[in-house]
C-alpha cells in the first residue's frame, strides 16, 4: 500500500529482532514491518503444516471502560457485545452512519464494564477519534488508545498449542475458539487469545512491549523441534485470503456496507440503535445490489486488488484481493459483483492489464482446516 505521509515509519518492539534476523522489511500502514523471512511460500506452508510465528504488534488496542462501557461498545460496534461473557471475543465492524466500514475489529470483554478493541494498524488515530466522538453521548464510558502498552504475537498452525503450552501455566486446551485467558508466557504477564487471521488453530498473545523479544525467542525455541519459523506479513495476507477473511482497505472500506461485504453475521440486528443500523436495516429491506464473492481464475493469470471485473462487455465490478495461493496452487481472489452474478459457478472476466481473463465464483472460504 502507498504511504500516505512522509512521517517516519513506526517500529514494533521486535523491529531490531526482525532486522537482525534478516527479514525483508517494508512500509505497511505507517509501520516498518517484516514482509517475509525465509520466503512467503515457505512461511505459508509452515503455518498450514506446522506453525508460524508473527509479530502483529502494529495492530492497535483501544480500551473502553466505565459503568456504561457496554452501551458505548454497543453504539460503535456492529456486532452484539451483550452476548460476550468476560473472557470472550468477537469479530465486528466499526461502521459509518451509512453502514460502511471505518474499520473491522475484534472486541474482547476484559471485564463486565471493560472492553479491548483490536483495530488495524493504519487506522488507529482515525478509529480512536471516531470512537471518542461517537461515545460522547453515552454517559460514563471513556476510550483510551492503549496501543503503546501492548505488543502482540501470533503463533498459528496445527502445532501452535503444543509449542505454546510448555511456556505457560494457562491450560490452553480449555480456551475455546474466540475466548481468551490471562496468565504468564515465558514468565511474562500475558493475555492469551485463541484467535488468528490464518484459518488455522492458533493463539494471539498480548504482552508488555519491553518483554516482546523474550517471548518471541521463547516461542521460537519451544517450536524448534516442530520446525516453527518466523513469518512476515506476506504470508499473513495469503493465509487470510485462503481462509476467506476480509482485509480492511482492500475488501472492506468506507464504500462497502456490511451487507455487501457478506458480513451480516457481525451485525447485531436485534440490538438497539448503533451507528450504521438504520442504513443497514434499510439496505436489508430493499436488498443490496452487489455482494462480495470469492473467485478462482479459469484462465492463466492473477487478478489483483483494483482490477476491473466484466460481465460481457460491461464493467460490472471490482477485484478487491487476489493472489496465486502458495498452498492451493491456484489464482484466487475476492470481488464485488452485481447480485445476480454472485451465485457459485457463475463466470465473469477480469481485466488483467488489458487482457480479459475468465474467472468463476466459488464458495468461500477457499481453505478450511480439518477439525
Amino acid at each position: 500500500m502507498e504511504q500516505a505521509t512522509e512521517a517516519p515509519l513506526k517500529k514494533t518492539p521486535l523491529n531490531a529482532r526482525h532486522r537482525a534476523s534478516g527479514a525483508k522489511m517494508v512500509p505497511f500502514g505507517g509501520w516498518d514491518m517484516p514482509v517475509e523471512y525465509s520466503g512467503l511460500s515457505n512461511e505459508h506452508a509452515a503455518v498450514r503444516a506446522r506453525a508460524g510465528l508473527f509479530d502483529v504488534s502494529h495492530m492497535g488496542e483501544i480500551e473502553i471502560a466505565g459503568t456504561d462501557a457496554l452501551a458505548a461498545v454497543q453504539r460503535i460496534s456492529s456486532n452484539d457485545a451483550s452476548k460476550l461473557a468476560v473472557g470472550q471475543a468477537q469479530y465486528s465492524g466499526l461502521l459509518t452512519p451509512q453502514g460502511t466500514f471505518v474499520d473491522d475489529l475484534l472486541v474482547y470483554r476484559l471485564g463486565p464494564a471493560h472492553f479491548l478493541l483490536v483495530v488495524n494498524a493504519g487506522n488507529i488515530p482515525k478509529d480512536y477519534a471516531w470512537i471518542a466522538e461517537q461515545i460522547k453521548p453515552v454517559g460514563d464510558a471513556v476510550a483510551v488508545d492503549a496501543s503503546s502498552r501492548y505488543a502482540l504475537l501470533a503463533i498459528q498452525g496445527p502445532e501452535a498449542l503444543n509449542v505454546l503450552q510448555p511456556l505457560t501455566g494457562v491450560d490452553l486446551s480449555s480456551i475455546k475458539y474466540y475466548w481468551f485467558a490471562h496468565g504468564e508466557v515465558a514468565n511474562v504477564r500475558a493475555t492469551v487469545s485463541r484467535t488468528g487471521y490464518t484459518g488455522e488453530d492458533g493463539f494471539e498473545i498480548f504482552v508488555p512491549p519491553q518483554s516482546a523479544d523474550k517471548v518471541w525467542l521463547a516461542l521460537l525455541e519451544s517450536g524448534q523441534a516442530a520446525d516453527v519459523i518466523p513469518c512476515g506479513l506476506g504470508a499473513r495476507d495469503t493465509l487470510r485470503l485462503e481462509a476467506g477473511m476480509r482485509l480492511h482497505g482492500n475488501d472492506i472500506d468506507e464504500t462497502t456496507t456490511a451487507i455487501e461485504a457478506d458480513l451480516n453475521w457481525i451485525v447485531g440486528w436485534k440490538k438497539d440503535d448503533f451507528v450504521g443500523a438504520a442504513a443497514l436495516r434499510e439496505q436489508k429491506a430493499s436488498g443490496a445490489t452487489r455482494k462480495i464473492v470469492g473467485f478462482e481464475m479459469l484462465d492463466r493469470g492473477i487478478a489483483r486488488h483494483g482490477y476491473d471485473a466484466y460481465i460481457g462487455d460491461a464493467k460490472a465490478g471490482l477485484v478487491t484481493s487476489g493472489t496465486q495461493t502458495p498452498f492451493l496452487k491456484k489464482a484466487i481472489g475476492m470481488a464485488y459483483l452485481p447480485l445476480e452474478h454472485t451465485a457459485a459457478g457463475s463466470e465473469f472476466d477480469v481485466d488483467i492489464r488489458g487482457r480479459r481473463t475468465r474467472a468463476r465464483v466459488v464458495t468461500m472460504p477457499f481453505y478450511k482446516r480439518a477439525k
Partner: protein, 125 residues
C-alpha cells in the same frame, strides 16, 4: 553473496543478457528474483515479437506483486522458454540459468552501454 556470470551483460532494470554473435538470451538477475520473492507466473511474448531496448517484453509475478520485464537490447524474439510457464519457480532457484527469451539483435552496438558483472554488482550492493 550471489555471483554474477562474468560473460553476461546487465541492465539497470535488472535483466541479464548472454550474447553470442548477434543473438542473446535474456533473463532476470539474482538480485531481481530476491526482490520479487516467490515467482508464480511469467508472461512472455510470442516468437517474432519485435522489441526495442528498454521496452517491456512481458511480465513476471510473485505472490505479492507484478513487475515488467524490460528488454536490454533491440531485436526480434527467436525463441521463448516455454518451460517457465509450468515451472516459474525455477527463476528463483536458478535466475542466471533461467533464460526467458532469445533475441536476434538488430543493433548489437547497444550492448556496449550495458553493465558488466563488476559494475552490476556495484549497482546492487
Amino acid at each position: 553473496m550471489a555471483s554474477y556470470p562474468a560473460g553476461f551483460k546487465y541492465s539497470k532494470d535488472h535483466e541479464w543478457i548472454e550474447i553470442a554473435g548477434d543473438h542473446g538470451k535474456v533473463g532476470i538477475t539474482d538480485y531481481a528474483q530476491q526482490q520479487l520473492g516467490d515467482v508464480v507466473y511469467v508472461d512472455l511474448p510470442e516468437v517474432g515479437a519485435k522489441l526495442k531496448q528498454g521496452q517491456s517484453f512481458g511480465t513476471i509475478e510473485s505472490v505479492k506483486a507484478v513487475s515488467e520485464l524490460y528488454s536490454p537490447v533491440s531485436g526480434e524474439v527467436t525463441e521463448v522458454n516455454t518451460a517457465l510457464k509450468d515451472k516459474p519457480e525455477t527463476v528463483n532457484k536458478d535466475p542466471h540459468g533461467s533464460w526467458m527469451v532469445a533475441i536476434k539483435l538488430t543493433s548489437p552496438g547497444e550492448a556496449g552501454a550495458l553493465l558488466d558483472a563488476t559494475q552490476y554488482q556495484d549497482l546492487v550492493k
